[in-house]
């Protein structure tokens, strides 16, 4: 089994950011994103300040800009939507390259893109410096509902197993000269998905049996991370406090 794939977006490292306990990072990152989202639109200087802070954290964590850029790919649907806004919105029109665009639409599109980019960037920093299993332990320490943490923990554990199942099924399918070319092959893809579901369901049953055999009675005890020192909380709080300060200033200024 390859090991790099199963760590998802995690990039091994030993920076100060990597060493922070997961729940401290989660609080910092979520708080920062909330600050970004609550910033009023068109406060361009605020978005620039946020981006500056993230550049600093990215550098501290030693993550390559290319890695962050790769994560931004999932922003594409937002980009498409944002690109439509200037055409769809009403109100003041401006002429750009011979196109008549809505001024409000342009501003909204810009705000949307800025917020989405900053949010995804922050998530990439969190994911890039925290192992998935640490993240689960961190969420438990933050007292997220137990059932949710357990489901997440199973997901982290079995994502690879299911992906491997799918990969083997695909290889076996392709080895019999199959290639999906248009709607007439959708049936095959659908039955692959169905078979994968049945397999995963059956595996779930076997896992449950194995758990019962070791005395499982409905309570899973995950062993969390260490609590985190004052200094570590202060590091994460720095980003959070900066975010809140910028958001409040922007709100007051507009």
């Amino acid at each position: 089994m390859s090991s790099s794939r199963s760590d998802g977006l995690y990039r091994p490292g030993s920076s100060a950011i990597h060493r922070l306990p997961a729940h401290v990072k989660v609080v910092g990152a979520v708080g920062f994103v909330v600050a970004v989202v609550s910033t009023p639109g068109q406060a361009w200087w605020a978005f620039a300040a946020y981006a500056g802070a993230l550049v600093l954290v990215t550098a501290m964590a030693g993550l390559a800009p290319r890695y962050v850029a790769r994560g931004l790919v999932i922003e594409l649907p937002f980009v498409v939507f944002a690109a439509l806004l200037p055409f769809l919105a009403r109100g003041d029109q401006v002429e750009i390259l011979g196109l008549s665009l809505s001024r409000g639409g342009l501003a909204d599109a810009g705000t949307l893109l800025a917020k989405a980019t900053l949010g995804i960037w922050t998530s990439m920093l969190l994911a890039g410096t925290t192992r998935p299993q640490e993240l689960v332990a961190g969420m438990q320490r933050l007292r997220l509902p137990r059932l949710m943490v357990e489901i997440l923990s199973f997901m982290v554990r079995y994502l690879d197993v299911v992906a491997d199942d799918l990969r083997r099924m695909r290889i076996a399918r392709d080895s019999r000269a199959f290639s999906a070319r248009g709607p007439k092959h959708w049936g095959v893809l659908a039955s692959t998905a169905g078979a994968l579901f049945v397999r995963s369901y059956e595996r779930g049953e076997r896992v449950h049996l194995a758990m019962l055999s070791r005395g499982y009675a409905g309570r899973l005890v995950l062993h969390g991370d260490r609590p985190g020192t004052r200094r570590e909380w202060a590091t994460a709080a720095a980003l959070l406090v900066f975010g809140i300060a910028v958001a409040v200033t922007a709100r007051v200024a507009t």
Binding site: R157, L209, A210, R214, G215, L222
Partner: protein
């Protein structure tokens, strides 16, 4: 935990009497199975696919039940109100380690069983260290199970049940998908443990290597219960129950292991 209540040397580690079972859909799998294993015995459970081996195994710790007959583990009947103690006593290692290992790290997975038994943190930590040492994986304790090799995962699966200090060990197809070195390492571990053990397998040389006694199950009944060498030498019996020795393997002329 109650460890050895009213148990003397003559109480068998495992005693299965006239066990019969039909699944809820009406398909009957076991038709009166008798099987007794004493302390210090390693027994192979042989039989073709569909013979009822897995169904029998799931009865040993009360996952399945409600049919005819009885199962007793060290004198304790497998009944609903005794399930936790029964599951401590019977350590089942399942065929696919991915089914058994589901916690984020190896140490946490090994801790799962003892924690369910209600032990405190220190006792659990001690069990984890002890069990991982027994399978030679103490160094891997903080790794996620999916980063280990298949052979290592199988050994961790053994450790997860050893941590419960079982009184009988049951392994379902322990050699499936193992490479020869992992297979030998597992055999060495099993030989070092002085636990009564039931090994469910198709791997006849492995049964021959590890188990002096073999039980052949087919169509839900025990058709033979003999010394392994003798059973494997009975070509007619093997053929009648779809078992075959690997080409060139002759249990009568193999050198006896030191």
């Amino acid at each position: 935990m109650t460890s050895e209540p009213d148990r003397d040397a003559t109480t068998p580690a495992l005693d299965v009497r006239e066990l019969a079972y039909a699944y809820p859909d009406g398909r009957q799998v076991l038709y009166g199975v008798d099987l007794t294993i004493h302390d210090g015995e390693r027994v192979a459970l042989l039989g073709p696919n569909g013979a009822g081996k897995t169904t029998l195994v799931l009865h040993l710790n009360g996952i399945l039940g409600g049919g005819h007959g009885s199962v007793t583990v060290g004198g304790l009947p497998v009944e609903r109100d005794q399930l936790l103690e029964i599951r401590r006593r019977v350590g089942i290692v399942f065929q696919d380690p991915d089914d058994q290992l589901f916690m984020p790290t190896v140490a946490e997975d090994v801790a799962f069983g003892p924690t369910n038994l209600g032990l405190d943190r220190e006792a659990v930590a001690e069990r984890v260290t002890e069990a991982l040492a027994a399978v030679g994986l103490a160094a891997e304790r903080d790794r996620p199970p999916h980063h280990l090799s298949f052979g290592q995962r199988r050994r961790v699966a053994v450790a997860t049940v050893l941590a419960m200090r079982p009184e009988i060990l049951v392994l379902d197809e322990p050699t499936s998908n193992l490479d020869p070195a992992s297979r030998r390492e597992l055999a060495e571990i099993l030989e070092r443990l002085s636990l009564p053990t039931l090994i469910v397998t198709h791997d006849l040389p492995y049964a021959w290597q590890l188990c002096p006694r073999s039980v052949l199950l087919d169509d839900g009944v025990v058709v033979a219960d003999r010394p392994t060498t003798e059973l494997l030498a009975d070509e007619e019996l093997l053929r009648a129950h779809r078992l075959e020795l690997p080409f060139g393997f002759d249990p009568r002329v193999q050198p006896v292991r030191p």
